[in-house]
């Protein structure tokens, strides 16, 4: 197991380095010059040269890449072109917002869909199953941002449970911040919950028909015993993979949702810094998103290995 984790960790670092190179290369190739963008067309060549050397853009490509790469491990991505402050300080708050939002939405997905999926699988064809199937169909076909608008309207404007657009920074009021994020988190989670329930139910029913389930019945197991002792461990694997993908998607969907709820998160930062060609910020942001996805997939692999001995003992 330890060996497996180390192997995956090394793989993660290699992927990170490759990804960082691709990200850096892409923003090198994108047309547009941040220096000209900042100074305008009437700038003198001397001024342009001095800003270029101030930002370090006169150094060769690989030198700049290696300082970027070094920055990943020291968490120092240089100075933002537009804000004139360090990228790390600029992004710290945004990352906290999106991380909390994603984790909240993900917990909602897991804690709602796993018990509900098990329940409807156990009572297939029953009343609850029919209700959940109907709700699933509806929830799956409504995109998160529409749901976000609906939630803003119903809970924000009609019921007045929260103030629309009234984002509270975690620095000033942590509980207020967490409370406000519940609403976008739910908007993010609902469509995923629907998919997750369907997936889990389908897998449980499929596993329950396999030979080993028949053996378990032949030993005198009841449905509950079969479900928890045998089926669940096998049936949960695809759901774990799916939750991993959902987690990765949370960051990207979060970019849309934060617009709906006017949260000053990564998304707004990303859009504004792309339009001002603030490359240190954009590169750091894209890298953070990529890193988040990599960590999630690393975690999924480890959970798989814990549950399934065939994964763990393969090598």
């Amino acid at each position: 197991m330890g060996k497996y984790i180390i192997k995956k960790l090394i793989l993660l670092i290699i992927t990170l380095i490759v990804t960082s190179f691709i990200i850096f290369l892409i923003f090198e190739l994108v047309p547009g010059d941040p220096v000209l963008d900042k100074l305008g067309t009437r700038a003198t060549p001397e001024k342009i040269e001095s800003l270029r050397s101030q930002w370090g853009l006169d150094r060769p490509f690989f030198v700049r890449y290696f300082s970027f790469l070094k920055g990943i491990f020291t968490l120092n991505f240089g100075m933002s072109y537009t804000y004139g402050m360090s990228v790390t300080a600029l992004l710290r708050e945004k990352i906290v917002i999106n991380l909390v939002l994603s984790v909240m939405a993900l917990s909602v997905v897991i804690f709602v869909s796993v018990p509900l999926g098990i329940y409807v699988a156990k009572h297939t064809g029953g009343f609850a199953d029919k209700v959940v199937s109907f709700l699933n169909q509806t929830a799956m076909s409504v995109p998160s941002f529409v749901l976000g608008l609906l939630i803003t309207f119903i809970f924000g404007m009609v019921l007045k449970w929260f103030r629309p657009g009234g984002y509270i920074s975690y620095k000033s009021d942590l509980s207020g911040f967490l409370y406000f994020l519940i609403f976008p988190a739910v908007a993010l989670a609902v469509p995923k919950i629907a998919m997750c329930i369907r997936l889990l139910k389908g897998n449980i029913l499929e596993e329950a028909l396999k030979d080993y389930s028949m053996t378990a019945y032949a030993r005198g197991n009841n449905t509950t015993g079969l479900l928890y002792r045998h089926v669940l461990k096998n049936a949960i694997m695809p759901t774990i993979t799916f939750v991993g993908m959902v987690a990765a998607d949370m960051i990207c969907s979060g970019i849309v949702i934060e617009q709906v709820f006017s949260i000053p998160g990564l998304g707004q930062m990303l859009i504004s810094s792309i339009s001002t060609r603030d490359y240190p910020v954009v590169e750091a942001l894209v890298l953070m998103i990529a890193l988040f996805i990599m960590v999630i997939s690393f975690a999924t692999d480890i959970i798989h290995a814990i549950i399934d001995p065939r994964v763990r003992l393969q090598n």
């Binding site: 030979d211 080993y212 019945y217 005198g220 009841n222």
Partner: protein, 256 residues
């Protein structure tokens, strides 16, 4: 000990009933080995599953009598049936790899019949493990301690089937049902499993219902033989009779 009378199993496929097993009769006496032989689709596995109470599908009806020492298995409520499954009847399936749970270790699967009845049996974890290991040794798994902690994919096919037999016998059932237990194994392993079943039958006196399409296996093992075709019993008799003097044309075809 086991009496099957007028057993009839019908499917409902697209509203039309389809008969899988028709009027099957046979009896198994104490410590007897009965073989059911027939080609695929003859209803032999269906019969075995019905006896073990494993046919609970809604699209299926069963009628007749399955009597195990005075208990009518066919009309027994599910809860009562579960007490018998694994306790009075042990079941060994065809494919030992698929019939073991891939994510559980072998030991806990061998113990499971005991573990389900932990409260009634009053056994501790260590006692159950000891019984499981003893059982695994008695079916010829010499390094039972290692296999106890191994996963199904880490042991060989023959070892898996032995472990499945140990699991089925862990509560000393009166009847062991083996549904083609040797079909998925190599020929040399087949022979060893047959010898093992013979030995177990001699030592523990448990009756065995052995299902196979392979006549040579049946001949080597069984006291009595039932030949089935298309859900019907074609011929029934002692192993000697059937193999030396088959009465029916179909049996003759099977043998030669």
């Amino acid at each position: 000990m086991l009496t099957v009378k007028d057993l009839r199993i019908e499917f409902f496929d697209h509203e039309l009933p389809e008969v899988a097993v028709k009027d099957v009769d046979f009896t198994i006496e104490d410590s007897e080995i009965l073989g059911i032989v027939g080609e695929s689709g003859s209803g032999k596995s269906m019969t075995a599953m019905a006896i073990a109470g494993l046919l609970n599908r809604k699209d299926l009806t069963k009628s007749g009598v399955i009597d195990l020492d005075g208990i009518d298995l066919l009309n027994l409520p599910r809860t009562k049936l579960r007490e018998i499954q694994g306790n009075d009847i042990g079941f060994v399936f065809q494919d030992p790899l698929n019939s073991m749970n891939p994510v559980l270790k072998v030991g806990p699967q061998v113990e499971e019949a005991m573990r389900i009845r932990k409260k009634t049996l009053g056994l501790s974890k260590e006692e159950m493990k000891a019984i499981a290991i003893e059982n695994m040794k008695s079916v010829g798994l010499d390094d039972a301690e290692r296999i106890y902690d191994a996963y199904p994919h880490q042991i060989s096919g023959g070892q898996r089937q032995r472990a499945m037999i140990a699991a089925a016998l862990v509560l000393k059932p009166k009847l062991l049902i083996c549904d083609e237990p040797t079909t998925a194994l190599d020929v040399t392993v087949q022979k060893k499993i047959i010898d093992l079943l013979k030995k177990l039958n001699r030592e523990t006196h448990c009756s065995i219902l052995f299902i196979s399409h392979d006549l040579s296996v049946i001949r080597a093992l069984c006291d009595k033989v039932v030949v089935m075709k298309d859900g019907l019993v074609v011929e029934e008799g002692s192993s000697k009779e059937i193999f030396s003097n088959p009465k029916e044309e179909y049996t003759r075809q099977l043998i030669f």
